[in-house]
């Protein structure tokens, strides 16, 4: 071994190993840098993706994304009534925070719902249109307004400004499923039990 140390082969080998090591270190550093960069940029997005996007403002913010930003800066995660326990659970898993129950100051857990304008009574004041955070109400001054049902988030921000109280919140209830999870001792699928 010893007589080999001085040879050109040994030196070039060492140089090669050194170059490879340096390249590896640079690669790892770059990976780490990229990762931290993406993490920084996307934490608000990640929180935002878990929020229900009703834009109702019950949390005290203007919409879901502002609340997501506030959470990323340390705000409590239990201020979203439309999301309910599910959103709190998801957020606590993402942020590794304690799973507080919903803050009652911001309202109770909300179910799926939709808002409907009683069109005969509408006077066309456009106040609800201005209040709608997702532009889901159609209409013009002194003309009847109506809600685009598929776009309505049921935030109920339009109900309070209406001067003639012609807007109703309609609960949709649980969505109907074709297949229910089997209850103990009761199945509807035949094949399983032949």
């Amino acid at each position: 071994m010893l007589p080999l140390v001085g040879t050109i082969y040994f030196q070039s080998l060492m140089a090669l190993i050194a170059v490879l090591l340096i390249m590896r270190v640079i690669y790892l550093m770059r990976q780490f840098w990229l990762q931290s960069l993406s993490r920084q940029h996307s934490i608000v997005d990640q929180i935002n993706a878990l929020l229900p996007q009703t834009q109702c403002g019950r949390c005290g913010h203007l919409g879901c994304r502002p609340y997501a930003k506030a959470i990323s800066l340390g705000e409590r995660i239990n201020k979203c009534p439309p999301g309910g326990d599910e959103t709190i659970t998801n957020l606590s898993l993402l942020l590794n925070e304690h799973r507080h129950s919903l803050d009652p100051a911001h309202g109770e857990v909300l179910q799926r719902a939709v808002v409907v304008i009683r069109e005969d009574e509408c006077i066309g004041c456009t106040k609800c249109i201005q209040a709608c955070p997702v532009d889901a109400i159609l209409g013009g001054p002194k003309l009847m307004h109506t809600v685009i049902e598929s776009e309505c988030t049921a935030c109920d921000l339009c109900i309070e400004p209406c001067p003639v109280d012609c807007i109703d919140l309609i609960q949709l209830g649980e969505p109907e499923l074709l297949w229910r999870a089997p209850e103990a001792g009761k199945t509807t699928l035949i094949g399983s039990n032949l």
């Binding site: 203007l62 709608c132 074709l178 399983s192």
Partner: protein
């Protein structure tokens, strides 16, 4: 492709020797008792016309059709009574002549016993047909002329899943198809409709296959059938002597006839879960649908009936019927001599993938291939499920190569990510895992529920994305309006007196004194305000929100 080439290489030789191609083997599967012989004893029977027909407006996966008749109209046989609304809905034709009595909701065959809009026809028994249309020579038609004929015949897949044929043809005609596979593998217990059809009308089936092959421009056409159906294979071999259609023999097991299983058995390649058969250059069609295509093209008759198996221990004479779409299930049961005392359960479909039907006034649909009036001995009451003992039988039986027990635990804990990672959407819901389970766990029902839940949460996620986008647009719009409004107020502040009050070029001493006094009083007032606010500082207005643009 190479596998295909090998398979078809010396097809002529094979045909001359009377030997058919043998399919590749597929993983998993079970061999249940088939209960098929009873319903195969007699020939296919044409049924008498029932007094009432109720035709559901949606018999297939997709959207419902729109009725184009109203209550009180008299309709003739083969007259159109509902129009397709898009490519996944079908034209519907009157199965017999009579008067439309009403259009209203009625229970139909589906797992949740949901009601659905049906057209009720009081038949008059005359069976008057719409003016006879001459049968067309399909060989003389071009492909572009042939496709609409098939599309307008109102056919959906008759294998059980009920996929609309127009949609499938549309997908296939947009891609390059090299093989048409006619699926004659009817692996589920009790069902014999396809076997009976081939046995008696193999010529029509082969012609239908040729029509379809021509319509989608496929190079090869094969019929996949299991080894045990000797009579059907014999009938087919006799009919294919003048055509290029091939017979491929599949193994006798369940599920040999699943879409992905047939493709794997014929081509030797497994189809990915997110791929359609058309992506692999294959068009797969059930025999019943192929026969319906033959009727639609060669006889110019739209789809108004299907061959349905009636069987079960509670029926005295089980047989196959050519049943009109919309015939109440109870009417067919009465024809077979139902023993009401022995009748415990009504099952639609086979015993493995079928669903229980509570209300036998529900009508026969295009996808109802089998109706079973089962006795208690055939379908005993369910025993409560026992805990999973991790025996692993289900993993051996799974034709998709999944791990059913893992999926079960994730389904119970509603772990969406793990369910997707373990290939829940590869599950073809064949029920082989539930069949072999010694703990009698209804595994497939868990998976079906989970699939639906996942689809629902995906839908919720998609809508919330839409809301988010609209919210951002709204914010952007508001900000833009504000930005546009600001310059105007800057040009003309409210507190500067207008030009009329203070005419330019004139100057009066009295006016100047008044102006100075007013200015002094304004400054005093402002100072007072400043002192007052420094003593009790007003709460700064916090703007939580921000415009995301």
């Amino acid at each position: 492709m190479r596998l295909f080439r090998n398979m078809f290489a010396n097809s002529k030789l094979r045909k001359m020797a009377g030997v058919q191609s043998i399919a590749h083997s597929t993983p998993g599967g079970i061999t249940p008792h088939l209960h098929k012989s009873r319903s195969l004893r007699s020939k296919i029977m044409a049924i008498p016309i029932p007094p009432h027909l109720l035709i559901p407006l949606q018999q297939q996966q997709g959207t419902a059709s729109a009725a184009c008749v109203k209550a009180g109209d008299r309709v003739l046989k083969y007259q159109k009574i509902a129009d397709a609304t898009d490519s996944t809905s079908l034209d519907i034709y009157a199965p017999s002549s009579g008067v439309v009595s009403m259009i209203q909701n009625h229970t139909t065959i589906n797992p949740a016993e949901k009601e659905q809009l049906c057209i009720f026809i009081d038949t008059d028994g005359k069976d008057e047909e719409l003016a006879e249309i001459d049968a067309i020579e399909w060989q003389t038609l071009t492909r572009e002329e042939l496709l609409p004929v098939i599309r307008n015949a109102g056919i959906c897949g008759m294998g059980g899943a009920g996929f609309p044929l127009p949609k499938k043809m549309e997908t296939s005609s947009n891609r390059e198809i090299h093989t048409l596979i006619v699926n004659a593998a009817e692996c589920e217990p009790f069902i014999t409709a396809d076997q009976a059809l081939i046995r008696e009308r193999s010529e029509a089936v082969i012609q239908g296959a040729e029509i379809l092959q021509y319509a989608i421009n496929a190079k090869h056409c094969v019929i996949a059938i299991e080894r045990s159906k000797g009579d059907a294979i014999a009938a087919l071999s006799k009919s294919i002597s003048h055509s290029s259609v091939e017979i491929v023999i599949l193994d006798d097991k369940y599920p040999a006839g699943g879409e992905r299983q047939v493709i794997q058995a014929v081509s030797g390649k497994e189809l990915q879960a997110n791929k359609l058969p058309a992506d692999a250059g294959i068009h797969l069609q059930n025999v019943g649908s192929v026969y319906a295509v033959y009727r639609a093209v060669a006889e110019s008759k739209p789809c108004i009936s299907r061959i349905t198996t009636l069987t079960g221990e509670a029926l005295q004479t089980p047989k196959n019927f050519e049943a009109l779409i919309g015939t109440p299930v109870s009417f067919l049961f009465d024809l077979c001599g139902i023993d009401k005392k022995n009748h415990a359960k009504t099952v639609v479909g086979g015993s493995l993938m079928g669903i229980e039907l509570m209300d036998t006034s529900a009508p026969v649909m295009q996808s109802s291939n089998c109706l079973i009036a089962g006795s208690l001995a055939e379908f005993p009451d369910t025993i409560p499920e026992q805990p999973c003992i991790r025996c692993g039988f289900c993993a051996e039986a799974c034709p998709a190569g999944l791990l059913p027990q893992q999926l079960l635990s994730y389904s119970r804990s509603e772990d969406a990510q793990q369910l997707e990672d373990h290939g829940l959407f590869d599950c073809i819901e064949c029920g082989a895992c539930s069949y072999v389970c010694p703990s009698k766990i209804p595994l497939v029902q868990y998976y079906r529920n989970s699939k639906e839940q996942l689809a629902l949460s995906q839908e919720v996620f998609d809508t919330s994305k839409g809301w988010q986008a609209r919210f951002q647009d709204h914010q952007y719009r508001i900000k833009k309006l504000k930005d546009e409004a600001e310059p105007r107020t800057a040009i003309k502040p409210a507190n500067i007196p207008s030009a009329e009050e203070k005419p330019q070029g004139t100057f009066s001493k009295d006016q100047a004194i008044l102006d100075v006094a007013a200015a002094v009083s304004r400054v005093k007032a402002r100072r007072k305000n400043v002192i007052a606010s420094s003593e009790s500082p007003a709460k700064p207005i916090q703007a939580d929100g921000e415009a995301e643009t």
